[in-house]
């Protein structure tokens, strides 16, 4: 049997851990902050001292509910807290407060935009809230340090169904989730700060000669970047296929079951991790220190009302209503505030396309330089609307508008004031332009000759003369007027 009629279908499910951007931790009032010196945001509750008790952070529950609602999940009316037991030095109580059989949210989906412009529905099995563990720091030869600043930070674990069948789909899903939680304002989802961590479950369904083979499911823990996720999934697909080829009957889910693997970032490979002698038994049971959470229809409804339009819906609206391209609409819906800026400017009467051009031109360039979103560049919706209107009215040309945009981002003020102060208002005075046109004609006889001769270089020569006039005007001449006068004087 030849290998050509063999089909390989990767099957991938993804667990995503998202740290929620609440002011304080999940069960105490310590600040939820990354990057401070070790053990500076700790208290008896989050370091698990004897006799202290957890008190639920309502904001964390609301953030988690928002994500659940945005994922079209059923948000339970009754949910509770369970203890998950395991011994590890970064887990001060040696149990983690989590949610076991009654998660806050279940049975939803995320509409994921794929690189080819289509979308795919990835089902979400559950999203539950828990407390994060601390961190072991292995920077000394003699001992390991434990930093508990992160211990007790609210963590949302979102578990997908195994609905992804390609590396690109896994990556697109992870990125869409990042966009969603940022959109909802519930997490910064900053990979460098560990706000998002991935655990893919991967296996292959291989069909050959009418038989389907399933490779063992491999879970890879604790991936901290999109790159690691991408490389892990790609590597696993290739590795599992190779292992299966070497041993098609033995390397199967029925014989091996599930494997845990770790990702080696330097080598870009995953490595087998031996399980402890006994399988993990987390001994879940309801946490007697915390009351169950009762979610009323009013509470749920109030949060649902705050969610508003989600990224994909907004993108579709921009394409349809504002006649933007897919690329433009996609770029403007990476986060909610950027789109809000556009929408407000349009409501103010500005032209959507011109606003979009300004935001995606200078706006995106500045944002990119500084590593933040377009909305954070500092140009307000009012400024954007005014500038776009000046462009539409021919009061400034595109070059001037770009300069004004940069100035607004730097120093603020009104676009008109900036234009006046910087001499960027378009000159449409026929006498003045006429003088520049005459000057350009006198200085460039060869180009004038080319235009007048009507040869194949006519168009190019005309453009050259246009440019000369614009240069003489310092970019301030109204292009339409320049064109009209040039045509008139050259008789073309």
């Amino acid at each position: 049997m030849s290998e050509t009629n063999e089909t390989i279908k990767p099957v991938v499910g993804l667990e995503i851990h998202v740290e929620l951007a609440t002011a304080t931790k999940m069960f105490c009032r310590c600040r939820n902050r990354f990057g401070d010196p070790p053990n500076t945001h700790v208290c008896p509750v989050c370091i698990g001292m004897p006799g202290v008790l957890p008190v639920m952070n309502r904001q964390a529950v609301e953030y988690a509910m928002k994500v659940g609602l945005a994922l079209h999940c059923t948000v339970a009316g009754f949910t509770k807290w369970d203890r998950k037991s395991y011994y590890y030095p970064d887990l001060p109580k040696n149990y983690q407060i989590s949610q076991y059989d009654l998660p806050l949210s279940a049975d939803g989906f995320l509409e994921v935009p794929l690189p080819d412009g289509t979308t795919r529905k990835i089902r979400v099995r559950r999203a539950h809230l828990e407390e994060d563990a601390g961190k072991n720091i292995h920077d000394k030869a003699s001992h390991t340090g434990v930093d508990l600043n992160r211990a007790g930070v609210p963590l949302l674990e979102i578990v997908s169904e195994p609905d992804m069948n390609a590396v690109e789909e896994v990556l697109a899903y992870a990125r869409a989730m990042q966009r969603l939680v940022r959109w909802l304002g519930v997490s910064e989802a900053n990979m460098q700060m560990g706000h998002m961590r991935f655990e893919p479950n991967i296996n292959l369904h291989i069909t050959r000669g009418g038989r389907t083979f399933k490779t063992p499911i491999c879970e890879v823990k604790n991936l901290n970047s999109f790159r690691a996720l991408e490389r892990t999934v790609a590597y696993e697909i290739q590795r599992q296929h190779a292992e299966w080829q070497a041993n098609p009957e033995g390397y199967s889910i029925d014989k091996v079951g599930k494997e845990n693997r770790g990702y080696d970032d330097e080598a870009g490979v995953t490595v087998f991790q031996r399980e402890k002698e006994e399988a993990h038994d987390y001994r879940y049971f309801p946490d007697p220190d915390l009351a169950p959470v009762l979610v009323s229809d009013e509470w749920r409804g109030g949060l649902a009302a705050q969610i508003g339009e989600l990224p994909l819906a907004r993108r579709a609206r921009y394409m349809e209503r504002y006649a933007l391209s897919f690329k433009e609409a996609d770029a403007l819906t990476q986060d909610a505030p950027t789109g809000d800026l556009l929408d407000t400017a349009v409501t103010d009467g500005a032209d959507a396309k011109r606003c979009a051009n300004l935001l995606l031109g200078r706006g995106a360039a500045i944002a990119n330089d500084r590593g933040y979103s377009i909305a954070e560049v500092g140009v307000t919706a009012g400024q954007l609307a005014e500038l776009a209107k000046m462009l539409s009215g021919g009061e400034v040309n595109a070059t001037a508008a770009d300069k004004i945009f940069v100035k607004l981002a730097e120093t603020g003020g009104s676009p008109r004031q900036v234009a006046e102060a910087e001499g960027l208002l378009a000159v449409s005075d026929a006498g003045q332009i006429s003088a520049w046109v005459d000057q350009a004609i006198a200085a460039n006889p060869k180009a004038v000759e080319d235009v007048r001769s009507g040869g194949k270089s006519q168009k190019k020569a005309f453009g050259f003369l246009m440019g000369q006039v614009m240069r003489l005007s310092g970019g301030a001449a109204a292009p339409a007027e320049v064109q009209r006068l040039l045509q008139q004087k050259l008789g073309s």
Binding site: M49, P50, V52, S85
Partner: protein
Amino acid sequence: MTSILDLSAVELRDAIACGELSAVEAARAYLDAIERTEPRVQAFNEVHADRALARAAQIDADRAAGKPLGPLAGVPLAVKDNLCMTHGRTTCSSKMLAEFRAPYTATAVAKLEDAGAVVLGKTNLDEFAMGSSTENSGFRPTRNPWDLSRVPGGSSGGSAAAVAARQCVAALGSDTGGSIRQPAAFCGIVGLKPTYGRVSRFGLVAYGSSLDQIGPLTRDVTDAALLTRAIAGHDRRDSTSVPRDVPDYLASVNKPIEGLRVGLPGEFFSDALDAEIGAAIRAAAGAYESAGAKLVDVSLPHSRIDRDADGKLSSYAVACYYIVAMAEASSNLARYDGVHYGHRTAEKVEDIVELFSRSRAEGFGPEVKRRIMLGSYTLSAGYYDAYYNKALKVRRLIQNDFDRAFEACDVILAPASPTPAFRLGEKTSDPLTMYLADIYTISVNLAGLPGLTVPAALGRDGLPIGMQLIGPVFSEETLFRAARMYEQAGGVRRLTPPAMAP
């Protein structure tokens, strides 16, 4: 003049408030008593003499300055050593926490101190409150002031013995399966396990979190009302504490309840009960009847006590309790691993698992280890449904029994323990027999109800016999009034062990 040591908490604070007595005199009298009797009783893990005298002096200064005094101003108390205080150590009578100093004070203790109470020290207990005799203390056993060869009960044995021995006016204990009520009965004093959620558990080192409650051990019912009023109420640091007004128990305690219906559960008066105790409780029932109460037969089928062919006792409630409490304990005690605080092994270890294992093996006593192992087992995959889940169902049935019973009566009258105080060493070799010491008290914890133990009589061999009044949730006021009716109707009150008389 009667001795300072004879005064109740209410009498003492009144005497201090009107200047008959200074708080310092009161504190000194008790510190002297501790010095005199402690070598025999061994109730305290730590005595805070200097701090107590300083606080007493502050009360006296406040009074002299005309400042308002709290309802417990100058009253010397003891605190069970599983309640955290920023002063001194909080050991839980465990080697694991022998040097533990808490950076916070338990809400119940802070409330008492805010009310002016003077804490004399921390009392001994069964390690982590696991036991019924205080013999499981990791340090030393406490002895019963009525007979030093006998146990004071447990786990709040140190607090009970200290109150009975006149080493303090009253004390705080904790009750997970009877740990206030049983030692109160053994020592001839009053003890209340409040409704679950009535008193904040913040600062109480957890044993069985869904069962634990802090309560007072006192000389008489009136003092129990005074202390309960001081410690009860919602605390935002304990999500299981209930936001509900606290009645002025003291104001109503002397008002008899007209037409009181006293329920007698048939299941509790089987041959498992010591005959003398049975007789004492029936006599108490008779006293209630004479005082105008109506006696009602009630049934608590799931709290029934069975005797098998070998004569061994068993009870659904005991089985249910030990599954729930040990499951919770196995998790609550997981944090004692030698990493962040507490005992850490001095042995050289290969890895973190060995550090955990050795530290825990060295730090915990045998009963604590037994309960951690049992609890871990019942929560394990494959056994959860057979044990823990089934126990939760039985717990519900026990609660339902009480709900039904309280349709027919206002309070239930029951024994507090199957026997009077037993001898040291008598039950240590058989943990199961020891567990049965709680047979009449644990269903109250499982149902979350308040239970009050008061002395019923003195037995033939000079040992006190206690009885228990159980009420519906938040019926503490009814319990105090009903118990006070018994005191007034000729029940025993303020018993002093002969050997401890000043």
